[in-house]
Every structure is written in C-alpha cells, then in structure tokens.
Symmetry: C4
Subunit: 276 residues, 4 copies
Amino acid sequence: MQRIKSKFDAFRQKTNIVIYGTNTVSGRLFDLVLLGVILLSVIIVMLETVKGFDIKYHHELIILEWVITVFFTLEYILRIISIQKPWKYIFSFYGIIDLIATLPMYFSLFFAGTSILTVVRALRLLRLFKILKHPQFSSQSTHLKEALIASRGKILIFIYFMLISSIIIGSVMYVIEGEEGGFTSIPISIYWTIVTLTTVGYGDISPITPLGQAIASVVMIMGYGIIAVPTGIVSAEFANSNRKKPRSERINPCNECGTEGHEFNAKYCFHCGAEL
Amino acid sequence: MQRIKSKFDAFRQKTNIVIYGTNTVSGRLFDLVLLGVILLSVIIVMLETVKGFDIKYHHELIILEWVITVFFTLEYILRIISIQKPWKYIFSFYGIIDLIATLPMYFSLFFAGTSILTVVRALRLLRLFKILKHPQFSSQSTHLKEALIASRGKILIFIYFMLISSIIIGSVMYVIEGEEGGFTSIPISIYWTIVTLTTVGYGDISPITPLGQAIASVVMIMGYGIIAVPTGIVSAEFANSNRKKPRSERINPCNECGTEGHEFNAKYCFHCGAEL
Amino acid sequence: MQRIKSKFDAFRQKTNIVIYGTNTVSGRLFDLVLLGVILLSVIIVMLETVKGFDIKYHHELIILEWVITVFFTLEYILRIISIQKPWKYIFSFYGIIDLIATLPMYFSLFFAGTSILTVVRALRLLRLFKILKHPQFSSQSTHLKEALIASRGKILIFIYFMLISSIIIGSVMYVIEGEEGGFTSIPISIYWTIVTLTTVGYGDISPITPLGQAIASVVMIMGYGIIAVPTGIVSAEFANSNRKKPRSERINPCNECGTEGHEFNAKYCFHCGAEL
Amino acid sequence: MQRIKSKFDAFRQKTNIVIYGTNTVSGRLFDLVLLGVILLSVIIVMLETVKGFDIKYHHELIILEWVITVFFTLEYILRIISIQKPWKYIFSFYGIIDLIATLPMYFSLFFAGTSILTVVRALRLLRLFKILKHPQFSSQSTHLKEALIASRGKILIFIYFMLISSIIIGSVMYVIEGEEGGFTSIPISIYWTIVTLTTVGYGDISPITPLGQAIASVVMIMGYGIIAVPTGIVSAEFANSNRKKPRSERINPCNECGTEGHEFNAKYCFHCGAEL
C-alpha cells in the first residue's frame, strides 16, 4: 500500500512538471501539443457549422470531436490529480473554462441539440494568450499592458461619456425619425447611435428625414473627431513609457560630481569634465 | 408663527444639506438615490418604446412612470424651497432640464400623444457627468478637459475645413451622379460626403458611375488620411500635459523653500537661490 | 477729359481699398458682405435641388439667383477695373473661380438645362478659407499647416503604397470573386478595395466566397492597422512643433552666466544663483 | 568564334548596364520605360475587364497585349543573358514575378479561358516600390520603415490578440444570432466580427436580436477604442525617431573634436573633455 502511494506521488510529481511546468522539454512540449489540440478542436467546431462541409464529413468530424473530448477529459483529470490544491484550480478562471469546454459533448449524448454548446470550446483559446508570457514577447507585452493600465482611468471616463451620449442621442433620434426609418424603439436607436459614433455604419438602419440626417452628420463628425481622444491618451502613454525607458538606460552618472543624463557614448562628464 | 418659521428654516437648511451637499452621508446617499431613479426613469421610457414589452407590462410601466414623476416633482419643489436664490436654480441649465423632465407626464393627462415627450428625461442623464467631479476621477477628467481645451482652436479649424470641403464635394457629386445613384439633392449629397469622409459608410447612398466612384475613392482616402489631423492634435496635447505633470512630481525639492520642479542638473533653487 | 480720368482714378483707388483692403472698416465690411452673399448663393443652389422646396418657391429662388448673379458680375467688373494688373487677377485661381461662378446663369438664358452648372458656385466657398488668415486663427492654422507640410513626404509615400496595394488586391479579388459578388471589373474591384482599406465599407459590393471573405478580412485588418501610419506621422510632427514652440517662449536667459531654459516663474538662475 | 564571344560579352555588359544600372542615362531611361510599360499593361488588363470598353476595342486591346507580352519576354531573356548568375535572378522574388507575368498570354493560345491569368501582371507593379529607393524619397521611406520595424513586435501581439478575440466573439455571435441574421456558420461570424471590429461595417450581415445587438455594440466600442493601440504604438515610435534626429542636427559642436549633440547647458565636451 505504501509502495503504491509513493509510486502515485512520483507519478503526480512527474505529471505536475509536464502539465504545469514550462522549463523542462516535456513541459514545453505538452504546452505546444495542448495549444495544437485546442486550435484543432476550434477548427472542427467551426467546420461543423459550415453546411456543405458538415454533410460530407459529418462522421469524421464527430469522431475527431470525441477524440479531442477524451483528451480534454484526461487533461482535466490529470490537472486535478497532479496539483497540490485541486480546489484552487477547479474554481480558477481557466479551471472553469477547461470544465465547460469538456462537458457539452457528454451532454449531447443525453440531450439532442446541445452539441451547439461545444462552441464554448473557443474560450480555451484564451490559453493562447499565455504565449505572450514567453520571454521573446514578454517585454513588449508588458510595455503594452503598462501603457493600457496607465490610460485605463481616462479610457473609462471616455466610455462613460460615450454611453451617456449614445443614450441621449438615441432618444432624440427615436423622436425625430420614428419607426419608418427603422428607429423602432429607443434601444434600437441607441444601437444605431453606437454604430454611427464608432464609424462602423452598417446601413441596416439609417436616417431618412432631413433633420435626422443633419443630426446624424453631427454624430458622425463627433465620432470621427473623438476617436482622437482614446488614441491621444494611449499615444501619450506609449510615448511616455518609451521616453522613460531609454532615459533610465542612458543615465550613467558621473563619479566626480554625480551629474546624470550622459549619452551612452560620452567619455567625459559634460558638467565637471571628469572622465566617466 | 415665529416658531413655524424657524422650524421651516431648520427644515430648509437640512434639506439643503441633503440635496445640494456632497460631504455628508445623507447628501451622498441622496445623490446615489437620485442617480438611481434617473437611470430607472430612462430605462422605463426605453422599455415603453419596445413594442413587445410595452404590450405585456403597459400598466406596470405607467404606474412606475407616475411614481417617478411624483418623486421628480417633489425633488424639484424641495430644490426650489431649500436654496437661497431659487430663481438662480430655476433658470440654471440643470434647473430647466429638471423642469422639462417632469412636465410631459402632466401634459399627457390633457393632451393625448404627448407621452413621447417623456423621452426628454434622458437629458437628466447629464447629471451623471457630476460623478466625474468625484475626487477619484477628477484629476483624470481635468487632464482630459485641459488637453481638449488646448486643442479646441485647431479642432474648430479642422471642422470648418471639413464642412466647406463637404459642401464643395457634395455639390460636385450631385452634378456627376445625378438622381439615379441616390444623390437626389445637394443636401443629400453633402450628407453622403460626410458619411464617406468620416469613414462611416452606411451604403444607403453610394456612387454608381465610374467618375463618381473615382471621386468617392479620393474622398475616402482623404477622410482616411485626415483623421490623422484631430488625432495628432489631441495626441500632442496629451503628450504635452503628460510631460508637464510628471516633471513637477518627480523632481527634487529645494531644502530651503521646498519649491519643486528643479531640473536634474540645477545647482541652485530657482525660487530662493539657495544651493540645492 | 483730364478731369474725368482723375475722377475715375480716384474711384478706382477707393474701390481697390474697399474690395482688396482688409485694414479699413469698409474693406472688412465688404469682405463680410461678400462671404454672406456667397453663403446665400450656395444655400439657394442647394434649395433648388430639393424637389419639394423648389416647386413651392421656384419663382423666388430664380429672382434671388439673378440678384446674386448681378452682384457677382458687378463685383467681378469692379475687381478688374480697380486692380493695377487686371490680367494677373483674371488668370489667378480666384479670378477664374469668380468668373465661372458667374457665367452659368447667363448661359442658362440661351441653353436650356445648363442651370445645373450654377453648382460651381460652391467653389467660391474656398474664399471662406481666407478667414483662417485672420489674426485670431492664424497662429493655430500656421501651426496646422506646418505640421502637415512637414509630414507631406511621408504621407505621399503612404498614399503611393496604398494605391499600388489597392490595384494588386483589387485584381486578385476580381479573379477570386468574379461577377456574381459584384466584382464586375478590375476598376470596380479596386474601388471596393479602397472602400474596405479605408474602413468606409458601404456594403454595395461585398465578397461572398469564403476565400474572398478571408482576403477581405486581411485587407480590413491591414486597413485598420495602417491608419496608424498617417496618424503616427502627423502626431509626431504636432508633438515636435509643440515641443519647439514652448521652449523658445520659456527660455529667458540668465544675465550673469547666460544659461537658458529657466521656467517662466523662476526667480534665480539655477546655474549660478544670480537673480533673474 | 572568339570574336563572336567577345562581341557577345560586350553586348552582355552593355545590356547589364542598361537593365540593372541606375547611374547611367540609358539605365535610368530603361527603368522609366519599363515602369511605363508595366503601368500600361496593368491599365490594359483593367480595361479588358470593363464590358462596355472591351466590346468596342477588343481587337486593339489584344494587339497591345501581345506587343507588351513580347516586350516582357525580350526583357526577361535579356535579364537572364546579361546577369552574371542567371539562376539567382530566375529564382529571386522579382524573377519569378517577371516570369509569371509573361506566361499567361502564351498559355491563352493553347487553353481557352486562361487569359484572365494576365491579371497577375498587376504583381509587376511591386517594381514601382523601387522608386522609394530614389534619393529624394529614401530618407523619408527609411524613417517610415524604421518606425514600422520598431513597432513590429507590438503590432504582432496586437493582431494576435485581435484574431483570438474575433474567433471567440464570432463563436458567441453564431450561437446567439443563428442563421436568420445571416450568421450561417462560425467562419462567417468571425468574418462579421472582423468587419465590425475594424469599423468597416458592410452591413451585409448585421445582428437582429436584442442580445446580438448589445454584444455588437460592445464589439464596436472595443474596435473603436483599440484602434488607439496600433496608432499609439506607431505614433510613439515616430515621435521617438523624430526626437533622435533633430537633436544631432541642431546641437552645438565641440570646438576641439567636433563632436555634436551636446546638451544646451553642457559645459564640457562629453567626448574629449574640452571646455565648450
């Protein structure tokens, strides 16, 4: 009994290294295989929704689906077994996604029509963002993240402003255009306002009265202009973090007088003339 | 009589603190409740315009509308009573909005079909911008406001340029495309030009002659390119104000007078002349 | 005879001051009246193209058109008479526009159907850009102009790149989509490419084959991404000219040691400690 | 025999200078003529696809096509003959394009319906990018290229993020909207997501359920907002490279060693230590 337990512990440890580790060859290989299978599973779900393809290869797709489902199930069980605190994983963000990506296939055995739920597998694609933690991208993505976090406050105010404006403009357009132009309710009018403000412009709804078109013109110019606000915010943050980085790299201080800010190729302090 | 007056004065004072104050618990609570009721009133007006929902819950919506109208009426009366200079409030921007947000419901008792005017209640949402004065957001929103004010002049010139261009291009397109393509009048052509210049592109009107499509292509590339102008203006202003702020924050204070913002290589305080 | 000539010379001089001058009261008044009449003439031409309005007020509009035409004719003659070198004005940009804005109305007397040419009057709106030379706007518009001129070279390369890409992508899409999807010829496909690259997206033509939609997706992401290029160019130029200006304004040098770059509120030189 | 070979060598050398050279008059002239012929060939292919034009001038277009094909064939043979290492050219990027731009016309002799392949001639337009290496544009285009290369890493992360988001959002929309709204399969839904995220908005597919429209609104605001990311990245890079350049240009050189780029308040040369 003791022997079985110690063997199981050794297995758990090995599995843990393979599944959660990123520094060993086997760990990295597992990550690659997993990402590959996730991509494959998403492609299969996609192809199933394409009529012409599904009719031809329905059988093969179903078989592949089951193979992947079994793989995901095994992976899920091994993840639980090999981790120290299983509950922490089970209720973590990725833990929940891993579960709901596996279940629908089993459901479809009992309830017809639930196979559409396999679409939730697309959520497992979020694991692909892990790649951004890879050393090759990490400095770049950290840079991106920092700039976005720094501009978060202003972006939120901006979105808040846009939402309130959309409600007010949408209400006004509902009264002006009425139902003939497709503005059948205030929520639809708000939807139209967002479509217009963001310069998407589907054209499924568009004003037909002169006054409505005049207001729409103002909304468009507004939307065209205020794109400058988030862009300006983020640009300034990027420029800021760009400026900070080279400076901290460049600043080798003078040993004599302590003046900082010498160019990287400076040989003498520009303040006291001492050799650097 | 004296006692009633003094009691009324005490009531006025208390009400004033609750309604206009923002530092007491009751004042903040009132603000929260008010914002909640405003949001609720807007949602109700929205739902009334959704056919399917209105038919089912018409009765409940009307009752809720009246409850909110009575609340708004009471609030309006209390605001007038509790303030020192009632006329100043009544003719203020928010005073007028508060009034016209309350009246339509009473009108609808006498004139059929005027209930659509309750839509003006959406204007009360403007009070939600007050939140931006909250300490948590105020520095950010001040920053935003300053950058926008600084770029106001250039933005105005830009809009002026866009409007005149739109009129000229619209007139040209009217002559080229004529009525078959949907360019039924010059105002409509100008509307199309704005739709195209701002890259919204509904597609309700689109050129069909080769020459018209060629000019449309130029207009699109123009619109695609000149978005750079407002964006560049605002970006530069943000970068500018970003550069100003961190400087004053990070830079070494004078030991004598405490003035901050000295250049990193300054030897003397620029304010009191003491050595740094 | 001599007297008549000297009287005529005096008249010419006075007229010149009124028409071409901008420093006298009468000169500025004339400019204002002229801009007003130009705006009015454009509005009238617009209204004539609006069916409902034209039917009701056709007579009045025609009369107003003739009044404005006579005004423009008089202005044109006076401009020629009062200037030193008439030919220079006649063949100048504005001279030609002034002429072709006046002629169509006279043509319409002899040739039916030419009244549509009055639309060219919209070109006279270009005179409205003169306002940007007004002292109140001139510094801002100079700033704008400089930044645009500085980024001209890069913008041209960018447009060159976009045009060649459009031709290549358009040709490819013509082969892939063929005529069913609306891609009836290569020029039309190029038009579609520009509509897509600039994110306008009318939807009058849109791909229907899977491969066409895949390529369209790439084109869209490309268009969405490369908007960053002109924006980045212009932003950088604005930031550049912003940075230059304040510096030259701020730099009050120290009288003792000549060090520049003191903050505007500095009382002592940060380098030698002398009072500023 | 020897004489013929030496004559042929002289011919090869001369041809090489004309075709590959850019410093001689004849070399530059050849480049200009070639670009002209390429443009002409593209225009002819375009015109052939325009029904009305092709019917009228079919004969003339075919003759011109053959003239150009012969010209391209001669050019291709001369390029191979005159270069030192023919295989290097044949398998180079431009070598392959030059070949496949010539072949289709010969194919059309044997296989009906392959004349559409002449469209690949548009690829020869890529040679027009050579102009950007011209001294007049080279500094500007180098500047552009550097900024784009510097921001490549972040742009890639951004596109990666957009693609994964598109797949997830597309899958969600497929489940919500279903086939009535035009979301007939997941690939189509992903296509719609890209159309919306990039603010193109054709309107060939647009959500019709309230929940779908709500999610679409979020996607639009997301797409409207995240355009700020690539723009911010590129803007910051441009600003960066702009800042570097002017510094080295404007700043005072050392009298001793001539090193430039000293800060305006530097007292000693950072390179040789001499007093400035």
